[in-house]
């Protein structure tokens, strides 16, 4: 072992520490527990005690940061340099800094600790079975509120044990909002934000407001990374978007193409060539517990050891057993002497990772930290959709009492109607209902649009799902949003699609073969190339010329089971598109014929 030049050490035994911020990679409970266990290693062999302070001056200040983070010793992005700490002393001396471009885990991949649910905060069990399908990451399937969840056993269908996964919709980190979840949309410097942002910051951390108006309320928190988030790159915290285009090739999985270091990466939009947004895919990560234990060794006065098995050896090595080597013990006892009391003080919280040997079966004893009033806590278990693939069936209904606006059969004119994931969706004033294809059953709903597609406004004009990419396009006024799973691109202006700025709204859409979609605006339409996201030509076609027999000014057009529906008032004109001949084959009522209302 080695000590620092001058044998720097603390002159007192009751060492204090303060955790200044948290990594978005881990829940605060897991982070705090890792630090507490790391300190406990050293207190178990010395007379030192470690007390956590919530505020004020502490001997050891713990901080996550990236690149140049204020001390003149910049971090270096992902991998390489992981953390550093200063030897004992005043001011910055004794402080420990962790590079947040690393992926912090307990050494064996993402630690997805749940909150709420019915599994008492147990970690996710991956893979798990839900409705017969296997899931290797948290999912929003089976829910209408957009909250990612996971099963905490291998089979949700049999065990029904679940919890909610880290998400900005569930809680925030640090900031000044006491961990309250994000509120979307929120206003910052007059602009509306529908997702976490790094705007207004230079450190790359993603944040959100926890009220609708940051400019007025100044309440904010940092967004936890979802389990699907990339690390590093220039899109920290964003999920991969598959497929994505890179050098004109399409990728449906993480790749090391374009790199010499073999690290897997992905784009966080559908086109790297265009957007240049990317990040590293998840790997086993680095154990925060082991790295912290090493750094705290420095903070107590130990320099690097030349014993490869020692914790104070400079290189990172994942081990599952007790990390202190006799060399480490000799070193720290050289500075502070051996422990004098017979029983080492246990860590301030129970280990999440018993003996650092297990992860997925760990059972935390800390209760979840409250993040708001009890009514804010999601409490309904994930529920199976009635039929069809699990991904399309959010089925938890809003909890407010039924009011007339909730009665789908009382609605004469819908804002938009669209077939999404094989189900007909009816949108109206921030809510939607859905009807299973071929089913004569009543519509399910209402569901909140904001819960399923949080970026969207209440009033939609049109929606459609591209059959090839499964992307869902939403139009409202002169704006368009494109959803790929839970990730959203937009809002973008209609002009970006090559439409004339005079086009005030899109009133309907019909998907065609070959990646083309007809976009309608009242009596005219354009052909949109979905891949290019551009209309073919600026001159619109006439609806009358292509679809004879439909009313002149329809307010909604959609495709359902291969037929086009043109809506006016509460009627529809159904057009058969077979054999290149467009012919009206039915006129019916939206309410009775499509919604099966009595």
């Amino acid at each position: 072992f080695q000590t620092f030049e001058g044998e720097l050490k603390w002159k007192h035994r009751n060492i204090t520490y303060r955790i200044q911020n948290h990594s978005p990679d881990l829940s605060p409970e897991v982070t705090d527990d890792a630090f507490a266990r790391a300190f406990a290693l050293w207190s178990s062999v010395t007379p030192l005690t470690f007390t956590r302070l919530e505020s004020g001056d502490a001997d050891i200040l713990i901080q996550f940061g990236t690149q140049e983070h204020g001390d003149g010793y910049p971090f270096d992005g992902k991998h390489g340099l992981l953390a550093h700490a200063f030897p004992p002393g005043k001011g910055i001396q004794g402080d420990a800094h962790f590079d947040d471009d690393e992926f912090w885990t307990l050494g064996k991949g993402a630690v997805v600790q749940t909150r709420f649910g019915n599994a008492e905060g147990a970690p996710c069990h991956f893979p798990f079975i839900f409705e017969g399908s296997s899931y290797s990451s948290c999912t929003t399937d089976g829910r209408s509120d957009g909250l990612p969840w996971c099963s905490t056993t291998a089979n949700y269908d049999t065990d029904h044990l679940y919890g909610f996964c880290p998400s900005e919709l569930l809680y925030t980190l640090d900031g000044n909002a006491n961990g309250e979840p994000c509120v979307f949309p929120f206003t910052f410097e007059g602009r509306s934000y529908t997702a976490c942002t790094t705007d207004g910051r230079s450190d790359g951390y993603r944040w959100c407001a926890t009220t609708a108006n940051y400019d007025k309320d100044k309440l904010y928190g940092f967004c936890p990374n979802r389990d699907t988030a990339v690390t590093g790159g220039n899109s920290q915290g964003e999920p991969c978007v598959f497929p994505f285009t890179f050098l004109n090739r399409e990728y449906s999985a993480c790749t090391s193409d374009g790199r010499t270091d073999g690290n897997l990466w992905c784009a966080t939009t559908d086109n790297f060539d265009r957007d240049h947004k990317w990040g590293f895919c998840q790997d086993p990560g680095y154990s925060l517990f082991l790295v912290a234990a090493h750094e705290f060794g420095h903070a107590l006065g130990l320099d690097h050891s030349s014993v490869p098995e020692a914790l104070m050896f400079p290189m990172y090595r994942f081990i599952e057993g007790p990390p202190l080597h006799p060399d480490d013990v000799k070193g720290i006892q050289h500075l502070y002497g051996p422990r004098t009391e017979p029983d080492p003080k246990p860590p301030t919280s129970a280990p999440l990772e018993p003996d650092s040997t297990t992860q997925s079966n760990a059972c935390p004893t800390l209760p979840p930290r409250p993040t708001g009033p009890p009514t804010d806590r999601p409490s309904a278990p994930p529920t199976a959709g009635p039929t069809g693939p699990p991904t399309a069936n959010p089925s938890v209904l809003p909890t407010e009492p039924l009011d007339p606006a909730d009665d789908v059969c009382g609605i004469q004119i819908f804002d938009a109607i669209a077939e999404i994931q094989g189900q007909l969706h009816f949108f109206k004033d921030g809510r939607y209902w859905r009807v299973q294809q071929g089913s004569k059953a009543r519509a399910q709903g209402p569901f909140f649009i904001a819960s399923t597609w949080s970026a969207l406004p209440r009033k939609l004009d049109t929606a459609f799902q591209d059959p090839l990419t499964k992307k869902v396009f939403f139009f409202s006024g002169q704006q368009v949003w494109v959803y790929t799973g839970q990730s959203v691109l937009g809002p973008r202006r209609l002009e970006k699609l090559g439409l004339d700025p005079k086009v005030r709204s899109i009133t309907g859409a019909i998907q065609h073969n070959g990646g083309k979609v007809l976009l309608f605006s009242h009596n005219q339409f354009w052909r949109l190339d979905v891949k290019k996201q551009k209309v073919d030509r600026s001159e619109p076609y006439s609806v009358e010329g292509m679809f004879p027999g439909v009313p002149e000014d329809t307010h909604d057009v959609f495709l359902y089971q291969g037929k086009a529906y043109f809506c006016q008032d509460h009627f529809f004109w159904r057009v058969s598109l077979h054999n290149q001949v467009n012919k009206v084959d039915q006129v019916g009522y939206v309410t009775y014929d499509l919604l099966h209302c009595p």
Partner: protein, 90 residues
């Protein structure tokens, strides 16, 4: 069948937001030796013996075979994840 273009080898690009890392092993090693305290900045360029000396020091510290050469084991050790506190000096 149409013949594909002859392969020019894998394309490597500069990813936005990522520091250029196209240093040669020699340049990388010099930067590493300086960063972790094995040699003061700038001294390596005066003569080759200082590099050998610094490498020997590093190899002893990292429990590598002491060759004084920039061999593959040494390069691999230098590229491994580690603590940012210098191994030598303050």
């Amino acid at each position: 069948a149409p013949r594909g273009r002859p392969s020019a080898g894998p394309i490597v690009i500069q990813f936005p937001g990522e520091k250029t890392n196209n240093l040669t092993n020699q340049q990388f090693a010099e930067e590493y030796l300086n960063r972790y305290g094995y040699v003061p900045a700038g001294l390596l360029h005066r003569d080759g013996s200082s590099l050998k000396h610094a490498l020997r020091k590093l190899q002893r510290q990292l429990a590598l075979p002491v060759t004084g050469e920039l061999d593959s084991a040494t390069i691999a050790a230098m590229r491994a994840p580690r603590c940012g506190v210098p191994d030598v000096g303050r």
